[in-house]
Subunit: 141 residues, 2 copies
DNA sequence: GCAATAACGAACAAATTTGTTAGTCTAAAA
DNA sequence: TTTTAGACTAACAAATTTGTTCGTTATTGC
């Protein structure tokens, strides 16, 4: 349960007030969450399909993350008509759909600087006048 | 300390392997972190300036978050020549600079759907043919 | 001489997130 | 009739993140 008046919770609220950036990030930052959004956008929109794609996730955790995404209106559940027992599909809302291209740019950003953790500090000004090469974003993400 | 072989740590590694999206998000998702990146990009690039902008953060936490951002090569420290005692500036690397526009789009995404948590599920298909109105992104973020 | 400012590091404690164990419900298959 | 699949929820435990307390270094202002 949330402590509502802990320093931590209050700092979170403070940041939410500073800029929507912070609430946006808190929505997508749980473990598995953005990967689930991406998978659903690719058509893996059933509970069991997600389980197959994320073999290490437990059903309980998957259910919880899906519910949280639902709470933030990233996706909605929909019963599939005429199935017995009733099957359930997950569908991205507009909000969720609008998120996908942002996740893709994050993915490309990550790939562009892959493996350049502590090193990349060579000449931090090298960017001046440098053509940014992004080498054929293939977005296998 | 990290447990390296906990289920949690292994799941994290698994996700990092699935797509760079996941490592990208883990880099920016700590409390204060993306706000710090944004603030630095706006010119608040000194320890004391950040403290002023984020009055609720403790110096120790600020120092820790800055160090983590440095570890991920989002920013670098630079001593300001000719100051006594030596002043320190934080400068975004190329990696950090490339991140800023993505943070801005996250911010705009957050603003576009502000306050539409559980509600926004009206007609999830309303997007079809609907002009997306984004009402003059003023990006005060 | 004593406090204040800029910039932190280490160790510990509190809060929060993630994972685990156990259990539910329905219907078709073995 | 017992098992299996699909879709979960609740409660508890382990792991991780965030915040707190104390300490450091060096110099300028009072």
């Amino acid at each position: 349960m949330r402590k509502e008046h802990s320093t931590n919770a209050m700092n979170e609220q403070f940041l939410f007030g500073v800029c929507e950036l912070n609430s946006a990030i808190s929505v997508i930052s749980g473990r598995w969450k953005s990967q689930i959004v991406y998978s659903v956008s690719q058509g893996n929109n059933r509970f069991h399909l997600l389980k197959k794609e994320l073999p290490n996730i437990s059903e309980q955790v998957l259910g919880r993350q899906l519910k949280e995404l639902e709470t933030h209106a990233i996706l909605v559940k929909k019963e599939i008509a005429g199935t017995v027992p009733i099957g359930i599909e997950y569908i991205l809302t507009n909000k969720g759909l609008d998120l996908v291209p942002i996740l893709e740019s994050l993915c490309n950003w990550g790939k562009a600087y892959e493996g350049k953790e502590i090193s990349a500090c060579g000449n931090i000004f090298s960017r001046k006048g440098a053509k940014r090469q992004r080498s054929e974003d293939k977005s296998e993400c």
